[in-house]
């Protein structure tokens, strides 16, 4: 069973998207960054969510969104990126090591994938490929882009 959780910082305001790039954008775009966790598990889904809330969520400063759909809306596009399966993801290893130390977590963790998610907002004409080029490292990371769907 696959379960998806996205963690959103409540207190981080949208930043200038030019700050993510080597050269400034001609159009004013903003961005927000969240973190997405993909759990491949066997067992009790409620226990998985309880683990996520206890381990990965800060109740004071963050919010959680469950499900595969992007947590935020109104974006121009979303850049989802993270470590390739064969690359060492130290953050994932830290979380998994902590999980392995739990006495009775109530589920089996087959795999965990952590993705950084960048939402880009605004009406500018910037192409996702500029963001991919400047943010992602193709040697160790992979990515996908979610374009906004307009009704």
């Amino acid at each position: 069973m696959k379960l998806f959780f996205e963690i959103i910082d409540r207190y981080i305001e949208p930043g200038d998207a030019s700050g993510l790039l080597y050269a400034p954008l001609s159009e004013p775009l903003t961005y927000r960054q969240t973190r997405r966790y993909e759990f491949d598990v066997e067992g009790d889904a409620e226990k998985v969510e309880a683990f996520v809330r206890h381990t990965l969520l800060d109740d004071v400063s963050q919010e959680i969104h469950s499900g595969d759909e992007p947590a935020l809306d109104g974006f121009r596009f979303v850049l989802d990126y993270g470590m390739k399966p064969g690359a060492l993801d130290l953050e994932k290893e830290t979380v998994v090591r902590f999980f392995r130390g739990l006495k009775d977590p109530g589920f089996e963790l087959n795999s965990l994938t952590i993705r950084q998610r960048i939402y880009v907002f605004g009406d500018g004409a910037a192409e996702p490929k500029r963001f991919i080029r400047d943010i992602c490292n193709p040697a160790i990371q992979n990515w996908n882009v979610i374009e906004a769907t307009h009704a």
């Binding site: 305001e13 206890h54 400063s61 953050e91 979380v95 902590f98």
Partner: protein
């Protein structure tokens, strides 16, 4: 020979201010032991008067600063630090240590998140001592300077009014004189109701000597000591006098 009060400094993977913090504790008279978290047991706390969590980037600040360290601490010794506090022990958390203490629930509820600047900030700041009777701050003046070095130092609460409440109740022991990182109520340091737990973002251990000050003509250094020395000295005196 008089017995020196014992301090235990917990070290996590990524802690990097343990050596200078231990030196600061020794300089004022504490007998100090640095213990990697993997070796820490409840029994190790026996006879300890002060537990210190120093600065650094425990577990690479993964998930969020202090989170994994707090979880591992709970896993290793469960609620032993709360019991230690309830039995009269003192706890000091500096920078990453402050972040860990908040995550452990040993301080009034709040969290330390990314600075509003979005950058790591390494600078000197002016602080206001709002708890002059605190065992940690008794020998410090109303205003003094400490260095800060953090990316996640903005103190926030679920509702900003809570942070204002901490100031009114005297729990906001230290505040920034200027807006440094966007902290609610300008909180730089927080104490618990007992007054025996203090967390602060600035680094007192980096200002032990007057010569550590950025200004070689600093007017506050007649004693040859920096303001950080007096934080540790206050604590040493408070603990020695309570023995």
């Amino acid at each position: 020979m008089e017995e020196r009060p014992r301090a235990l400094l917990l070290k996590f993977p990524g802690t990097n201010c343990d050596a200078e913090t231990a030196r600061a504790l020794e300089a004022v008279g504490f007998e100090t032991e640095i213990a990697p978290i993997s070796t820490v047991t409840r029994e190790l706390l026996a006879g300890i008067r002060l537990v210190v969590l120093s600065g650094g980037f425990s577990y690479g600040d993964y998930v969020m600063s202090g989170r994994i360290a707090s979880l591992v601490t709970e896993q290793k010794i469960d609620a032993a630090l709360k019991e230690f506090r309830d039995n009269g022990g003192y706890l000091l958390g500096i920078c990453n240590g402050f972040q860990i203490l908040t995550q452990l629930g040993l301080l009034p509820e709040g969290s330390l998140v990314h600075n509003t600047s979005g950058r790591f900030q390494c600078q000197w700041v002016t602080l206001e001592n709002r708890a002059p009777e605190s065992p940690f701050l008794k020998q410090l003046p109303e205003r003094f300077e400490f260095p800060v070095a953090h990316a996640e130092g903005r103190f926030v609460t679920a509702d900003p009014a809570e942070a204002d409440g901490y100031r009114e109740k005297g729990l906001a022991a230290l505040t920034y004189a200027d807006d440094v990182n966007g902290s609610f109520a300008s909180i730089a340091g927080l104490q618990d109701e007992s007054g025996r737990v203090l967390g602060l973002m600035p680094h007192p251990e980096r200002f032990m000597e007057a010569r550590d000050h950025y200004d070689p003509d600093w007017a506050g250094g007649d004693s040859g000591k920096g303001s950080g020395y007096f934080l540790f000295q206050s604590l040493y005196d408070a603990i020695s006098n309570s023995q």
